[in-house]
Symmetry: C2
Amino acid sequence: MAANKSKATPISDIGEFGLIERLTDKIKLRNPSTLKGIGDDAAVLDFKDKEVVVTTDLLTEGIHFNLMYVPLKHLGYKAVVANLSDVVAMNATPRQITVSLAISSKFSVEALEELYEGIYLACDTYGIDLVGGDTTSSLTGLTISITAIGEAEKGSVVYRSGAQKNDLICVSGDLGGAYMGLQLLERENEVFKVNPKLQPKLEGYNYILGRQLKPEARVDMLKIFNNLGVKPNSMIDISDGLSSEVIHICKQSKTGAKIYEGKIPMDNEVKAMGNELNINPIVAALNGGEDYELLFTVSLNDHEKIRNNPDITVIGHIVDASEGTMLVTTGGSEIELTAQGWNPLK
Amino acid sequence: MAANKSKATPISDIGEFGLIERLTDKIKLRNPSTLKGIGDDAAVLDFKDKEVVVTTDLLTEGIHFNLMYVPLKHLGYKAVVANLSDVVAMNATPRQITVSLAISSKFSVEALEELYEGIYLACDTYGIDLVGGDTTSSLTGLTISITAIGEAEKGSVVYRSGAQKNDLICVSGDLGGAYMGLQLLERENEVFKVNPKLQPKLEGYNYILGRQLKPEARVDMLKIFNNLGVKPNSMIDISDGLSSEVIHICKQSKTGAKIYEGKIPMDNEVKAMGNELNINPIVAALNGGEDYELLFTVSLNDHEKIRNNPDITVIGHIVDASEGTMLVTTGGSEIELTAQGWNPLK
């Protein structure tokens, strides 16, 4: 691989069919539901008596990613993870993806192989089959479109709309890391632009950099729910920030919510970076997004089952719609959450 | 609608959520296999004991379409049709689509509504459910990514790889129209650029313009096969031109083919436009693409069943791989087909 890094074969040298062959010849199919993957007009899947879950995402250069500081391999991995996370948020197991790329002439064959290394790594990690896609050109930049397909036992899908009054509002993992990692990368990128010889100062921030560059989908939570004997009443993944996701759950469930600032789980690196950059870490958790943790509600009766689980934190509870969707600060005052968060960052 | 055409509401006026609501509030679900459409992390589908077919396409402005002469409504319709055609080419019935858009700031809300009018018209025409997608920004131009999902009875899927020696090679409909329609539009666009006051000369070419601007997927062929009691051994849709599709079938089936120039069905408008533009119409059929007809092979034993069907033309037969993939000209000589066709246009 090291020798390849310095090569930059123009795509025109091997043509469209050559490129597709080179990018897809490593594909292994792992799932019995995948009857036929890449190579025909369409993939063929067989889910027997399962329900099928489908989600799709479109990422464009300059809007969703900046190739100045996001390595292509990480970009490929993350693009897949973002879609798997949506499948998991339905309480379903991801099985297949399709990947479509539009690429401008600035990309070499080797650059796309790096992107695909990340895509394949995600497929390996999560046991996913890459079953189709489309590779085409664009006038400028890179566009990645991924569709993920998953399966669920009949009746086990969890919707955003199922939250009930008095449900406990929970999150998996911790929040704000991906956003703080991005702030750090952007700061160092600015420094680099001024003086390319300066080494970036990234030490001590491995966790938040990892959260930004190599996030994971919480497929493991499906097993945890199963082991605990808990089925959430509602669920969504945290891709746009906690604030916006709480509002989605409440709007679709026709409820309100109270979440408690002091209970929102955050890693120490998030707090330290917040201090360094003068950003309130709670803002990163509420509005930052890209953490790909799960936000879900469970019946109050399930409290005993979840209370000691290290992957789950109760951050609030569901109330009547008339009470609004409120953040209760550590000082005890209540602030209404907004889709852009209570302290608009963007 | 007429009053709206002159309006150009910036997307920023209504925001991302407002835009999605405006574009998707007309959605009706039609298929029993669609349990949940747009509005959650993913769509939920239930195919019972069917096999599921998935295909995806990515279209970028300036590469796949030119908004100078392709109306947005037609673009939306065609983008859907191209994907449905891939489902049909598997001998499966299309049921659901997801649509993702990346849009730059030059597009107004009304422009996107026009695009969606075309998408909805295709959904109406073919009884398809729009079940998901992603709407996001791009730095330049418009990108459309569509994934189509279809269903087939167990064991009824037809692959590219099933062609057998002595099979008859058939096409539905006629070929070359979409390509000749594009040539006409491009010619008139050049004239327009020189003198915007000149009216385009499009009279007498309704058929080829329709083939380019509003192609149809041959979903009707599924019923025709059924009524005739014929199951093709192999099938592909003609999106890149007959030449390239014959090669795909032969490569995957490990066979050769002979197709006969004189048998390739072409409309009179294709021939007339060819004369006018000095393009051999056979070139349009072999290399033009975008006709979205079906290329398929049937057992020689089925000849009686298909021979009088007005929608089906036998254009050749499958031979040993060692004999190559050949076009037999009206003069009787044999020319090897290439992926770009025997007379490279592009």
